[in-house]
């Protein structure tokens, strides 16, 4: 079990983690969701004792990480960046980790076979693809047969086969009663993997809930209808208690009424329908809606621009001409 209590991490003026508290329970997969830059990796580094918190604490089964007698055999961690010396072989990378706490050499070969890297065990990791690097990281995390796994974006760079594999692996490990804490910025990935989600934005907790509740809470049901008689249909649907909004292409989006009811009402009133299709607002959209206010960088009109919170997106051109104007006016970076 991981307990995060009122955790704060500041880097200068930036608050990466802002009074975060949550618990990761054993026997299930807890997804750690947030847009890029939300503070997921920082939180994981704080849990692993790599960074010192500004205040607050995190405990592994009641103990600070640095007091665990043999961390490798208790917690397996996969960090986001590939933290490997490119000139060392995969085997030696795992060997030096194993040796820190008496994990036998045979185990190194076992985990290499498990992740499918046994044929390249004696190759320097320099030539590894992103996916192979990720598999090596997963092998390192499993080296000590840990009770608890902390995985930062494990599916990054994996091919579809690898994604299914890591998903099944996490499910197997959770079913054995282990604690799995896995971060992702992809809601859809978590929807099929996690049992529970902790959602953060700008270092703050947004949601800490069961995945089913999260999905039903944040996805709305809408039905798309095309008809040559929009006025009649709107009347019929409103009578059912539904709400209609017209789209610019002429389609009607109906919420608050199920597709069969709309069809039956149309038949009864003799309204011609060209299309009647239930739409499920994607979970990804729900997640983006939820974290919209907390994303550090937006891309208005397909261009990147820094957006201060609570202000409309600034197109890139304006930002550039703004700084040029500042220079022309003798801003402080000119002289």
């Amino acid at each position: 079990m991981i307990e995060v209590r009122d955790l704060v991490k500041r880097y200068g003026d930036t608050t990466a983690v802002d009074h975060l508290s949550f618990t990761v329970e054993p026997g299930r997969i807890t997804g750690f969701l947030g847009p890029n830059g939300a503070g997921k990796s920082t939180t994981m580094r704080l849990i692993l004792g790599l960074d010192r918190p500004t205040s607050g604490s995190s405990l592994i089964d009641g103990k600070p990480y640095r007091d665990l007698p043999d961390p490798l055999r208790y917690v397996g961690a996969l960090l986001e960046a590939r933290a490997v010396h490119p000139g060392r072989t995969a085997f030696n990378h795992l060997l030096y980790l194993a040796q820190t706490q008496g994990v036998p050499k045979s185990r190194v070969n076992e985990v290499l076979a498990l992740v499918g890297l046994d044929t390249v065990a004696k190759k320097r990791t320099k030539g590894f693809s992103l996916g192979m690097g990720q598999r090596l990281g997963i092998a390192a995390a499993l080296l000590g047969d840990p009770k608890l796994l902390i995985l930062d974006e494990p599916v990054n760079g994996l091919d579809p086969e690898g994604i299914v594999w890591i998903r099944n692996l996490m499910k197997t490990l959770a079913a054995e009663g282990r604690t799995i804490f896995v971060s992702s910025h992809l809601m859809n990935e978590m929807a099929v993997t996690a049992d529970h989600v902790v959602v953060i934005g700008r270092g703050k907790l947004i949601a800490d809930t069961d995945i089913e509740d999260f999905i039903s809470q944040f996805s709305q049901h809408v039905v798309l209808v095309r008809t040559p008689q929009p006025e009649e249909l709107t009347r019929a649907v409103t009578a059912l208690g539904g709400e209609v909004t017209a789209r610019s292409d002429g389609a009607l989006m109906v919420s608050g009424a199920e597709a069969p009811k709309i069809g039956e009402a149309a038949a009864r009133d003799g309204i011609v329908l060209h299309e009647l299709s239930p739409q499920r607002a994607s979970l990804e959209e729900a997640f983006m809606e939820l974290t919209k206010a907390d994303v550090e960088f937006h891309a208005p009109d397909g261009q990147w621009a820094v957006q201060p919170p609570g202000q409309p997106p600034t197109p890139v051109q304006d930002a550039v001409s703004g700084s040029l104007a500042a220079k022309a006016l003798g801003g402080d970076d000119v002289r």
Binding site: A83, T100, E110, V120, D159, L169
Partner: protein, 278 residues
């Protein structure tokens, strides 16, 4: 390359219940694996041997066979120190070795992997220092003994009897290896402080080499007070057999001063290594 066979976790045997603590012994084995499994170790130490022994041999062969100095004149010179003068360059390669041992962990991001399995950070720190010091010492002794044994034969050909039993020869030849190990330790401490390969190497070379050159531009009466305390001049006494009273420290006093520089760098490095975010 990525489409490889995938097996289930149930095919990996569970490990026995862990017993004991991750401690210093494991850290030592781990650090030895780290240092022997990268090419830069072979490259730097191999270069240190070839460069130092080679330059020393070339210089001593030249002076023994192609200079007008008489045997009587040569007998007054510190030919034992001269036989190892390639150390002036070899120390710079040792700086690269010592610095890389720790800065490569930062440049590759590997430090986060290392410290996440060893949260009690002083274990990997002292284990790494011990491993690189031992290795640098062994290689340093190979260098100093090889240089002396090869080059003293040139001088014997010139009629100057030199052997390991000559006065202070043993101290100077062992001292040559010690000095090289000390250079690696100094660079290791700088590497731990700066966490940056180029920065650590530059400051190491600066301390051992550039400072010595700059000091030679000081007025003479200043130099008498300053020079003997500089790292190269102080440490250099341990691989010399002649010391000028007043302007040189003794062999072991000098080496002690040299090691204080290294110790200061290592202690600051350790404090920062322990405190800083990885």
């Amino acid at each position: 390359m990525t489409s490889t066979t995938i097996t289930g976790y149930d095919q990996v045997a569970a490990l026995p219940e862990p017993k004991g603590r991750a401690g210093f012994g494991g850290a030592l084995r781990s650090e030895w694996t780290k240092i022997r499994s990268v090419r830069s170790t072979v490259w730097t130490l191999g270069t240190a041997i070839l460069l130092t022994v080679g330059i020393s041999a070339l210089g001593n062969w030249g002076r023994a066979n192609h200079s007008g100095a008489t045997t009587a004149q040569l007998a007054h010179e510190d030919l034992i120190q001269r036989s190892m003068f390639g150390i002036i360059l070899g120390q710079l390669v040792m700086v690269v070795f010592g610095a890389l041992a720790i800065t490569s962990e930062y440049s590759t991001g590997m430090i986060r992997t290392s410290l996440s399995v060893q949260p009690r950070r002083m274990h990997p720190f002292w284990a790494k220092l011990l491993v690189i010091s031992a290795l640098a010492f062994v290689v340093g002794e190979v260098i100093s003994f090889a240089s002396f044994l090869i080059d003293s034969s040139f001088w014997r050909g010139k009629g100057v009897a030199l052997s390991l039993s000559s006065p202070h020869a043993m101290q100077a030849v062992i001292g040559g290896g010690l000095y090289l190990a000390g250079s690696a330790i100094l660079a290791f401490g700088l590497g731990a402080m700066l966490r940056h390969t180029a920065g650590a190497i530059t400051s190491g070379v600066g301390l051992l080499f550039v400072v010595t050159i700059l000091a030679s531009f000081l007025p003479d009466n200043w130099q008498n007070h300053v020079n003997k305390w500089l790292p190269f001049n102080a440490g250099g006494q341990v691989w010399a057999t002649q010391h000028v009273p007043g302007s040189d420290l003794g062999a072991w006093t000098g080496f002690g001063v040299f090691m204080i520089y290294g110790a200061v760098a290592v202690v600051f490095g350790a404090l920062l290594f322990k405190k800083r975010d990885a």
